[in-house]
Amino acid sequence: MITNPVPGPTAVARQWFLARSDLDALIQALRKAGRTVIGPTVRDGAIVNDEIQSAADLPAGIRDEQAAGRYRLAERSDDRVFGYTVGPTPWKRFTFPPNLPIATAHLSGGFGFEQPHITAPQLAFLGVRACEIAALGMQDRVFLGSPFTDEDFRARRKAALIVAVQCTTCSSTCFCSSMGTGPEVRNGYDILLTEIDEGFVVQAGSPAGAAIVAHLPTRRPTHAETGAAVDSVEAVRTQIGEPLPIAGIDRRLQHQLDNPRWGIVAERCVECGNCTMACPTCFCTSVTERSDMEGRTATTERQWDSCFDVNFAKVAGGDFRARPRDRYRQWLMHKFSTWMDQFGSFGCVGCGRCITWCPVRIDVREELQVIAPVIQPVERPVAVEPVAASPGDFSIARLASVRQETEDTTTLSLTDMDPAFLAGRPGQFVMVALPAFPAVPISISRFHSNGIDLTIRAVGATSTALVNLHPGAKVGVRGPLGTFWPIEDAFGRHAVVVAGGVGLSPLHGLVEALVANRDRFESVSLYYGSRTPEDQLFRDDLATWSAGKAIDVAVTVDRAGPEWKGRVGVVTTLFDMMSCDCSRITAFVVGPERMMQASVQSLISKGVPPERIHVSMERHMECGIGLCGHCQTGRYFVCKDGPVFSLSELGDLYVREGI
């Protein structure tokens, strides 16, 4: 019976106590009300849902053990009758029969099609669990939620009275807690039983349920009894835990259409379709025609079908899902992704039947976590607690000196500042503000004993004002902010720094650190490309580094006059010089977006592992501390989670248009 949700668990519904020895009274009351009672009973080594005549048919003192591809019954140490979890029979069997005649066609007595008269048996479902109530609700949306409805389903659903049972035990295959469908039954029942030591705490969820309960030999439960009922369900929730991290999995799966795991799981899958048959929500069917020998009358029968069937997506011209991996992907993505688009919820209730009844022991939870793993938020140690950590707050620093680097780029040396800035790390940035000018993010290009250098290209109002300041001027600074270059990722490896144009600025401090710790690296190289020789930053340092033996420096320009004797060509041509085993390179890359893209592609094609390629992202930042939202790139706040990221952290987000 489609019941309206009861007001909710908080509105304390009236409760009764029914002794275990009186449970048969419930079954007989249901039968007396004209209902056939379908409930759990032991058959062929499993607890199936089938017609029961009395409480003697129930599996008293029996429990189940479930694992992937395995189901066994065992004895309980008590005489509980609901001390097990879901068995092989989904309730859809009774609301959505596996075989159903849906039409008759005839030629004799006129050409026509007739629908059978819908007759739904008056049933009572005994022992429906929370996940199964959710599953019935999902099929409600599938069959009754659109303008085109399944009236046979409607009639059967309406004719079924639901006697729900709270789960007081769980199996290793249960994951209702992850899917948000259980273990508590909250609504969708006519009668609810919670089994405790001596019997059942009973609630009614509908007038029909209340009418039945009224005929039972109940009494008011004690506080101990109602308390035990609540505690036992709560204990199950704790026991199940959170077996499948589900948040966002529907979206994550959509990015995994080409994941190689689909092929790997398909090699195991035997496409028996048992998962879809055992699933309480799977609703796909096919029809078969049967006719008499003359072809004058024919019946159409609908049967449960499965998307694992090799013919399921076939048309005359071919098969749209020809490979087993296509079919596995269709099923899993339907349950956990596209069902959401179609019906507004997951298509899985976490009952675990597809896991238990898979004869080759495939566990969807495991597959999902491999195919669409949860992305862990970036957690990096904070180098130093930033100073002035709220958007309007700035610490004061004094401008010690100004040095023109190129025509439009200037280095400001700041001093007389909070010592926290000096403890920052290469790759971090500061927010710099002047009165009446909006704060701008500037990366720290050098750390001195008494201050920091900021190398600024005059492109906007604030940066232009900054480069026009004279020594002695005061500026407001906030920081140091953001992530820093993971220098330790290059220990024992070839450290390669790739810089383009003003991108050398956030890398300058890193190069100094690499030089200072030269012994810890197999080699250190700097590849620096700029537009023209005149656009090179830090020319004195480049000359010093080139002259020394500590690091290999190679510079190139895109174009030059005849006085330039160096390389001409894009920065990626410098990678031809790399003669080492590229899998042992750790690279640090900054430059204009297109230059970084070309560099990263080239590095990857040479075999540098993506997790060893670190880039610094430039994005619009206003607050620098993850509050204003401007710099969001996919799941990241670039100011807070970056600006330094490894390529594997960025994944799909790297060089994706419009993110």
Binding site: R559, T572, D576, R594
Partner: protein, 159 residues
């Protein structure tokens, strides 16, 4: 220019093997190129090829650096690419009546295996095995240059 006739082909082949262009070639092709060409040394600022002139020879740079320069009105000569050891220059010598698209100047003391264009074309025409081995590698070198030129066209550092 300082040209030396080298009878010691083995030494030339060893040099070729030190270039990415030459190392990929079949041993027979390396030997054929060594016999067809000669090793030449260029001094700093020596002009190897003038823009607009016929490409008379193709070279494989063994050491040093060459600049490819184009004259831009009002801006004077602009270096658009440098040729680094391992790369080739004058590749259009494999085409008939090809003219140099840029001036080739040595910006450092350089050494190259230089092969006369007429002899090279004749050899390629009559020796199909040589053509089958050399052309793909020439195309590879041209493709590298094309890729780099595209990136330059994008003006990565544009403001």
């Amino acid at each position: 220019m300082h040209a030396r006739a080298m009878d010691d082909y083995a030494a030339v082949i060893a040099m070729l093997n030190h270039t990415w262009f030459g190392a990929e070639l079949a041993p027979e092709t390396q030997e054929r190129l060594a016999k067809l060409g000669n090793i030449q040394d260029f001094e700093v600022d020596e002009v190897i090829l003038h823009e607009g002139n016929d490409t008379r020879a193709m070279g494989v740079l063994v050491s040093g650096r060459l600049a490819l320069r184009t004259l831009v009105p009002e801006r004077g000569p602009v270096t658009i690419l440098s040729v680094e050891p391992g790369d080739i220059f004058g590749w259009s010598a494999v085409l008939t009546d090809a003219q140099a698209q840029s001036t080739v100047v040595a910006t450092e003391a350089s050494r190259a295996l230089v092969i006369d264009g007429v002899r090279l074309r004749a050899a390629l025409k009559e020796d199909h095995a040589l053509a089958a081995s050399l052309y793909p590698q020439i195309l590879n070198a041209v493709a590298r240059r094309l890729r780099a030129t595209r990136l330059q066209l994008l003006d990565l550092f544009a403001r």
